[in-house]
Symmetry: C2
Amino acid sequence: MTAPGKGIVYAVDDDPLVREVVAKLVATIDVEVREFASARAFLAAFEPRPCECLVCDLRMPDIDGLALQLQLNATAAPPPMIFLTGFAEVSIAVEAMRHGAFDFIEKPFSPHVLLHKIQSALEYSKAQFAARRARETAEARLALLTPKERCVLQHVVDGKSSREISELLGLSIRTVEHHRDHIMQKLRVNSAVELVKLCL
Amino acid sequence: MTAPGKGIVYAVDDDPLVREVVAKLVATIDVEVREFASARAFLAAFEPRPCECLVCDLRMPDIDGLALQLQLNATAAPPPMIFLTGFAEVSIAVEAMRHGAFDFIEKPFSPHVLLHKIQSALEYSKAQFAARRARETAEARLALLTPKERCVLQHVVDGKSSREISELLGLSIRTVEHHRDHIMQKLRVNSAVELVKLCL
DNA sequence: GCGCCGATGGGCAGAACTACCTACGGAACC
DNA sequence: GGTTCCGTAGGTAGTTCTGCCCATCGGCGC
């Protein structure tokens, strides 16, 4: 098992020399490193964690960096990716950036620069993880609501009063207030203000 | 004068041929185009509008595309920028993307692709303009608040009740309620919920 | 000094919200 | 047929918010 707060760097590259350089570099800080010779091998082993990042070659046989990025983006918790590239191709870089690449670094790279980018990426990963977990609990609560409750909630978040909502939906004020009660209980909040914050 | 809803494309390139190609392309849609032979000339003429974008060469004498981007980013309303580049340099592209470049297009480019990107950029510009104006009016209202009112507002947005705020600040409930009144009048809102939405 | 404004405090009335309780009809499920 | 859930609706009580009135005090500018 990995220590709770410890970060992990995944070094994905078909070139063992590059992996080794990355591994030795990461070993200088208190962060674990795991090497993978292919995107496929990495995907088989990958599971989301609070503090992790990829250092990944853009050009690889079979699944390349861009394809790996797309596959990871389709998962619930894509980790930040730092791409290594020896081939200066603007269109690929722009494409990867558009798909949320954390950073790019051209080979040959400065160890100091890469280390700095890794640390930023791990910080980012932690923040993302926390944000994602908050969003997930919020969505789990939201899923408990019935359609009618969701409808009332929408109007509440829009800033409408119970009276206005009752008129809009053709209900009695009492009914709207009941829905509000249930919403607040299910969402575990104590006021309309907290409701709004939960719903962004 | 320019018609209200009409977009403007600024073609900034030291090569007159490129400018002409862009101009002819843009002329096929209902969008005005203005040509500039240098970033300096463009900067002298530029003023923010609701629906505009730049098509700009990355490599130019004097002020290059990246420097122009930085100067525009320092203004209140930077327009979306589409960079033209004949030199495939990853680091520059990544840098420009990081600074919010709207898109990149490699020379030689397909007219159809550029036109599509221009239209996206103009849409984006419109949305940005609307968002910016909303933010500006919100900030103008917020500026009317006294320090104490801002403090109370912060707690209200945090979801605290008047009673809780009065205890936290060592004030009477009445005073807190007065502050709330003034805040809502100055911000022209009718409920705490709208207050929260105004403050993000 | 005088006037204005911000911060503080209070009163009061009405609206709105929150938190409990009850109830009934319909649909879905076992 | 009984149970459970949802939507509907009402009651009551207490709290909170909103709006409009008032006053005092201290600072700042004219």
